[in-house]
Symmetry: none
Subunit: 209 residues, 4 copies
DNA sequence: AATGAATGAGACTTCATTCAT
DNA sequence: GATGAATGAAGTCTCATTCAT
């Protein structure tokens, strides 16, 4: 055997594995967003991803594992993009605006991901192991939160915000409201557009523009 | 049998039916909030409500009917209380504040109901027959919305709000954000309190106080 | 409704339930003896008992429950017959002989039951909840053991048995050997007859006759 | 490559193969004794033996092959030790006692092997190809059996045993009882010790001491 | 010889709902 | 109106084994 072979084979294996994994997660994410996590069966994921049942179980040994994997992916991806988006901004306000714009974009471009998060908030977040969740959230939260807290303090200092505000509390309250607003819009989706006559990202952007 | 009886029996009968119905809905609402609508089985509702399976089916002939009945009840109840709460207020701002306070109170006092709505938003709202939903929502929305639209217009007139705001759009955007914030807090429940160190209604009230 | 009806209906229900239960246990016992407990599938039990899968699960909600039920039945039945068989005997020796004869008879007449016990000894007894097993065994053991212990003591007194025997120990040792012998013969079944040229009960009876 | 190598390589190869084989059988024997043959999966054997699934299949192409291999090993080993143990004894009685002591020792020192045989008796012996089994048993049985038959005949001659005994029948009956007793004790294992208050080999030895 | 990947067949169990009295 | 029994249709997951390199 040539020396390169002994090094390449594992790499090929790994590549293949990663590709298969992606197929499964892609199929699952789509189905979850469309029909609701609990209503999607393994058989459907199998069918859409094009593998066989037993093959799929070699990648994820229980349905929950798929949900976790998607959650990790979605949050990780969001964290990365948030960091990148706020990188170009100088002031705290600019950074936050960048984050908000990102969330608005996601409403259109990554609606399935936001919808997934909405379902997760509504149905799983309370029951699932706290440590695991905290570890995941740690990846994403700090950036935006830091900036936002700073922004509030600045606002209080320059008099544009009431002096009796608790920066921490306000920050969490607003962040929750923003996340709740975004996820609700993603969940209701086209229903909102029909009833309100506006695309959902416009309804979201109206909050700060 | 005496003539009076023929009038009383239907009444007792009706009372009994109503009581049974309440037992079922009460059990279901509690279970739905605790474990998630899709994860609650008819058998569990049967077990908690204390009836037998086949008896339950005399009241609700499918699981969805129970979900609808709870939705109707929750929204109807909310509408009634909203009307009452805003009745004592004079200005649009006062009326809206009253509505927000009501929503904050519900976070503590009717958490299961809010949680139910959160799940409904996240998982059912998109799929379910639009007409039926619209009819239900019609009961509740107008009040708060009207006031709010008026408030925005006042703000624009007196210069405290930017003149280029679209009152309709702003109204819907804010209403969505408020609902999203409230429901997200209810969904995450005690998890939020542990992480943020504040009771959830305080996080909600921080949005306007 | 006639008064008798309100009393009879439950009785009919109960009778029916009992009959169905028997069908299931009968089918399972037979299959277990033939193919080995672990190799029998629920589908096979369903098929032989003539019910539908979901109906069977209304009677036994897991496979283990069937195994337990059979164990209870077999041991209970054995206890009853042992009591009856030893009832007519006067001396301890006669009582024990009656018990041994019963065990020999079972080798022919209740071979499936003995085979079931053999499998249970070999594969389950070590793992299963001790309390539950002890409770079951309490139903059957005392009789034979008591007699046997007394017999040993008599033998020691009259000099026909060595004085240094520990009656308790001897009793358990012999009882284990007898049970082991019986169950092994039932397990090997016709194989023994072919190889040794004797029916299995004869090989068992040779131990004391 | 030097000429010596072409001779040595096969030898190392063979050694390696033998070692791998031993790892597999060792892992399987342990697992079989602990959880029951039917309940042990190939995956578990793979995991404990430290190989990969597909490697294991290069050594044993089906699960049954592993069971047979262990049976062969256990019986062969027993035969060898029995021959050795009885070698030093002169009388038939001494030889048999040596065999019994060996079986008692095995209860402690080779409990997994005895347990394996117990399961084999209870679950496989009836179904498996007779010829193959007979061939295996031929390795071990003759010794002890011969001695035992002779012993019985001596006993009849000197009047210490009843004259109407059939030596063959008695021999098989007792041998079965002894094997049944030993295997039952191994199967029940610590359960027996807890209930009876004696180590299992003591209960076994009480049969002849 | 070793291994990563794949897989057919099937196991157990659940559940919403209907039927018959 | 209440209830015990029944059940079709699925759902999740497992396992021994094979294939291809």
């Amino acid at each position: 055997m040539p020396a390169t072979n002994s090094a390449q084979t594992p790499r090929t294996y790994h590549l293949h594995r990663e590709r298969q994994r992606r197929r499964i997660l892609g199929a699952a994410e789509k189905l979850f967003a469309e029909h609701g996590i609990d209503r999607v069966t393994m058989a459907e994921i199998v069918s859409v991803s094009g593998l066989r049942t037993s093959t799929l179980y070699q990648y994820f040994s229980r349905k929950d594992d798929i949900v976790w994997a998607i959650l990790e992916e979605v949050l990780g991806d969001l964290a990365a993009r948030a960091k990148e988006a706020s990188g170009g901004a100088n002031t705290a306000l600019a950074k936050i605006t960048a984050l908000l714009e990102l969330m608005a974009d996601d409403l259109i471009k990554n609606q399935t991901k936001v919808r997934f998060l909405a379902q997760f908030d509504a149905m799983y977040a309370r029951d699932w192991p706290a440590e695991r969740l905290l570890k995941l959230e740690a990846q994403i939260s700090p950036e935006g939160f830091q900036y936002f807290g700073r922004l509030i303090r600045e606002g209080i200092d320059d008099g544009s915000l009431r002096a009796d505000l608790d920066p921490e509390l306000t920050m969490h309250a607003v962040m929750n409201a923003v996340a709740g607003a975004q996820r609700r819009l993603a969940s209701l989706g086209s229903r909102v557009e029909l009833e309100y006559g506006h695309p959902i990202d416009k309804l979201f952007r109206a909050l700060w523009r």
